[in-house]
């Protein structure tokens, strides 16, 4: 019995908790992708680098706050920097819309033209972020590190396995819940939110109702800025910031949005968790877990790891390919990409 509980603790500590945190970060990212896709009807490839940009601004503000001695005690200082990061990203997105996307929107260009121009925006942001903050890996989380420490857990409960939850993980879950709840409230209850859904649903009819598409587009970019920057800062607090990693996050984020069904917010959230749980459980070494569950004679000698963590991106990619082959509209019936 105790072996079984230890096995559960191992699984919670190394798979469940990290996957919930990572899944929340992906979900926030995928929500941004899915909203832009729903309203503007294109896949925004600059999403990962927008995330990097927002996180960069937040880091710079955080550093400045730290230098003047302003911190949040046991919470990370980046939480004060976050709103400023969001505001700066909103300005950036509205700016790129004005300079790049609006031109094609007025010409009623094909979605693929938008997507390709977003690749251009991606490269520009890519360079901009590296120019300002550099390509290196950096940590910016301060304050307390753990909510529950592995050693304390062992001492209190008497189990031989440790269980820990760190501060970034818990902040991730709390902020994601707040962000998702307020997003859904906004979309379902407010006039502006409903007009956004109307425009995403049927553009011609929305125009016929007198809904101002340009205004809805601007609001969509602002919400996307809030979601992406939050996702980026949370990921950075959890695992550190590196521009290249953020660029790579584009793949799991798109996989999450497409698995859930592009244009469907609920799907984006589900997709985020599907991707994170698959990625982490496929790259996790189950040796210790099986050690507790299986009888002595069957205990594995090797790591029982399906894929090395170096291949974690391959997991998202494989899921993406499978979904596109067999159910291109995703689990929650979005539009086919």
């Amino acid at each position: 019995m105790e072996d079984l509980l230890n096995a559960v603790i191992v699984l919670c500590n190394f798979v469940m908790i990290p996957a919930i945190a990572y899944g929340s970060q992906l979900a926030l990212g995928a929500l941004g992708v899915t909203l832009v896709y729903g309203v503007l009807r294109f896949s925004n490839f600059a999403h990962g680098d927008t995330m990097a940009f927002g996180t960069m601004i937040t880091i710079l503000v955080t550093r400045w706050l730290q230098s003047v001695g302003l911190t949040l005690g046991s919470l990370p200082t980046a939480l004060i920097g976050l709103p400023i990061g969001i505001a700066a990203t909103a300005v950036l997105l509205l700016g790129t819309d004005r300079v790049v996307y609006r031109f094609y929107r007025l010409r009623k260009s094909d979605p693929i033209i938008f997507t390709i121009s977003s690749v251009g925006v991606m490269f520009v942001l890519n360079g901009l972020v590296r120019l300002v903050i550099g390509p290196e890996h950096q940590r910016f989380s301060d304050g307390a590190r753990f909510v529950i420490r592995a050693r304390e857990f062992k001492e209190i409960t008497g189990f031989s396995e440790g269980f820990s939850i760190n501060v970034p993980q818990s902040i991730t879950v709390i902020l994601t819940l707040i962000a998702v709840a307020s997003l859904f409230w906004f979309m379902k209850q407010t006039r502006t939110g409903k007009s956004m859904r109307a425009l995403a649903d049927n553009e011609d009819l929305a125009t016929l109702c007198g809904i101002n598409a340009e205004r809805v587009v601007a609001i969509t970019w602002i919400i996307a800025a809030a979601l992406t920057t939050t996702a980026g800062v949370l990921y950075g607090l959890d695992k550190g910031f590196k521009p290249f990693t953020y660029f790579q996050l584009l793949l799991p984020i798109f996989a999450a949005a497409i698995v859930g069904g592009l244009g469907n917010p609920l799907g984006a959230i589900a997709g985020g968790f599907i991707i994170s749980f698959s990625e982490i459980s496929i790259t996790y070494a189950f040796k210790k877990f099986l050690g507790y569950v299986l009888p002595q004679s069957l205990q594995p000698e090797h790591l029982v790891q399906l894929l090395s963590t170096d291949y974690k991106l391959a997991v998202s990619f494989a899921i993406l390919v499978l979904v596109l082959l067999f159910k291109p509209t995703g689990i929650f019936r979005g539009r086919a990409p």
Partner: protein, 234 residues
Amino acid sequence: MSLLIGENMTGGYEGVDILHQCTVRAEEGEISVIVGPNGAGKSTAMKAIFGMVGLHSGTVWINGEDITRLSPQDRVSRGMAFVPQTNNVFTSMTVEENLEMGAFLRRDRIPETLDQVYQLFPALKDKRRQPAGELSGGQRQQVAIGRGLMTLPKVLMLDEPTAGVSPIVKDELMYRITEVVRTGVSILMVEQNARQALSIADTGYVLVQGKNHYTGAGPSLLQDPDVRRSFLGG
């Protein structure tokens, strides 16, 4: 003076004229119906009145005001509502949200209008929380018409409201449309199903190749031997 007039309209799409000196009117509190064979320009005439089709010449008036150069949205604020033939509901949104979107530009309170629409279409009240995409074809049309009524229009323009629904539902929809007129809204509609439409029409316009062929009271057009022979099949 008619409420809404599209007078001597000539125009069409990308250089090809579909309408030739076509005139259509909607009278206060009446049903006007545009009928005609396929490709006669029925829908084009209606879209031209709503500003969705360019005109070379001709004038559109509402309440004596020349609105020929106004955008469709501006025409909505002048008291016109247009219900397209297809894709006329927000499928992912609930029935009630669809109706609310119809009233998007209104800043006053809308619950009274919602109640009026539910009185006209009782079936919608039971389904108000259901996504419009899950409704049957006839109920969707009711949502679409209801959405149009939410702007409190003087004239409601319907493009083939009974296209693609079963005969029983057609009868029901036609009946509902006559009920709408009783609330004081004028109706201008295009119908494929000429016989039924003319039977409830105060005025009928028979268009052939973008020109007015016959105009007259609906029932009298149904009796007219020329119209019957050339158009209604005897």
